[in-house]
Symmetry: C2
């Protein structure tokens, strides 16, 4: 696998250095320990919002640092949890006195390291709460996970909670909102190809020329089943069908939907999948009130896509529409 890198060990740091140079107005990057913070953090009186996880899912999370979304992101090595000292430093850096909310994807290493960092901060008298995202409808336990994996709903939770923090939500209300988004969110992904971790240098898994992995994890973890390749209609039907079986919608319910590319699938195809998702929603009387179509939570160069649906109430939709200004997501400013 050919990659535009200099050295697998340095790839994350060099990429963050490029990010800092590309977005000096939005973010600043700390390299020791590694975290990305809003250029203007901390904001006095605002709850700080911190997320993080392994790299390789860009633009998530560092690309979502900025006004109306995250105050800081802690990138680990590719597909590797960030360390407690990174998270502790980021949490300290963005605490403007109103406490900090951690948004944590449900992977064992992430949970453990975010908890350790929170305890360190709490021992210094800071207020830190955590929301765990576990929205992957594919499987219960997985390679790096007890319970369900955290995937696409993370992006939507970061946007919605980021807007709420900007509006002045207190820490407890913000944590409750994050849990509401997670409880109403489900995702399912499909891989058409594997990805290759730079340090490994070979594909994470093997797929035959006519095979797909339905329910794949964002690190290439096994899904529900290895299936023969099918057309976009059948694949979208299976992704959405699994989600809607797990989180029933009534006619007239509204959703924020995401058709997400895993990194190696053309945008042309993602819009075809979105077209199918609209058809499915229309048939069931579900209103796709807001949507994202593009590469938002990727798995390096994996081909494939995921669908995320969050059942949305007025509060979530209103917060969704609030301004956001980050490298990866921007509107209203």
């Amino acid at each position: 696998m050919k990659k535009l890198i200099n050295d697998p060990e340095a790839a994350v740091r060099e990429s963050l250095a490029g990010m800092a140079l590309a977005h000096p107005d939005l973010i600043r990057v700390s390299f020791d320990p590694v975290y990305v913070a809003r250029a203007d953090a901390p904001a006095a009186g605002k709850v700080g919002l911190v997320s993080g996880g392994g790299s390789g899912h860009e633009p998530m999370h560092a690309g979502y640092v900025g006004r109306g979304m995250l105050d800081a992101a802690c990138p680990g090595q590719v597909f590797t949890s960030p360390t407690p000292d990174q998270i502790e430093a980021a949490t300290r850096a963005v605490d403007g006195g109103a406490g900090v909310l951690h948004i944590v994807k449900n992977y064992t290493g992430d949970i453990m390291n975010f908890e350790m960092a929170a305890e360190l901060r709490q021992a210094s008298g800071a207020r830190v709460e955590a929301v765990v995202i576990d929205d992957d409808a594919a499987v219960e336990n997985s390679l790096y996970t007890a319970g369900r994996r955290g995937v696409g709903t993370t992006v939507l939770a970061e946007k919605i909670c980021g807007a709420a923090a900007e509006r002045g939500y207190h820490l407890d209300a913000l944590a409750a909102l994050g849990r509401k988004v997670n409880a109403n969110g489900r995702s399912l992904g499909v891989a058409l190809s594997s990805c290759t971790v730079p340090a490994a240098g070979k594909p994470t898994f093997e797929l035959g020329p006519g095979e797909i992995e339905m329910g794949v994890g964002i690190h290439g973890e096994p899904g529900r089943e290895r299936m023969p390749m099918a057309d976009a209609r059948a694949i979208a039907g299976q992704l959405a069908g699994t989600i809607l079986a797990d989180l029933p919608f009534a006619r007239g319910d509204r959703a924020i939907a995401m058709v997400n590319g895993m990194g190696g699938t053309p945008l042309l195809e993602l819009y075809i999948v979105y077209n199918e998702l609209e058809r499915i929603a229309r048939d069931r009387g579900i209103i796709l009130a807001r949507r994202l179509v593009g590469n938002y939570i990727t798995s390096l160069e994996m081909a494939g896509c995921s669908i995320t649906m969050v059942k949305a109430d007025d509060e979530m939709l209103s917060l969704w529409d609030d301004p956001v200004l980050t490298p990866g997501l921007r509107w209203g400013v």
Copy 2:
């Protein structure tokens, strides 16, 4: 090659249908003939801006339709020029009485069909001008091109001319501006893998496991040379070095730079390339005053990247900063 499509023949139409559903506030899609127009076109008294070309380069061009950029885009089949009737209909639809500017990438089919459409409109008394983009520093003539190919500078020209049209530039001044951007823009791309046209079903070209195509075209056309794979520093050095040999910069000159993914390369890697480009610019005293890093002019799922540099004056930088609100590019609103 596995693709998230239903039918190769219908892929472009179904993708445009998904786009229309995803961005009802920004665009509307005509299907007979096929073009994408601003939801609020035509704007009375404003010069209309129309581009187009083969599909498979998304978000270009349809993703750049909206306020502050294109008034209409004419998507052909994948890697196939749009037909004169598409272009004629789009040109008519967005003519608010101040004439229409065509931004055309230099490929034989595109040039011919945009010219035919312009003549049809002119025969009806409309004013139509054209700017041809031919910024690819790789080769002089190519598979589908007499002269140089039109690539990344197209995106920057569409943004800058779109802002100028919004400000009320007259047709002749707008055409002169577009030609100035093109004259000051150069690009070079590199392929790490081929792409696969849906209707062909097999890779456009073959690359060995350790080989790259330096100077590749956006349809997979041959470049300058087949080289052994190298690290990001060497590749960025060769891309930027070729551009800067072709379009000399003096110390203190400013550029709008783009590090563009061809569709299959992770964002993590594109930021590494941008980091290298900043180093090269610093060494030569060139100021990268503005930049884009991401997938802006793609070649389906091709792995690789391109660098575009436009030597920018105050007028171009000021227009660059104006608001833009399209599916693929947005800021300031």
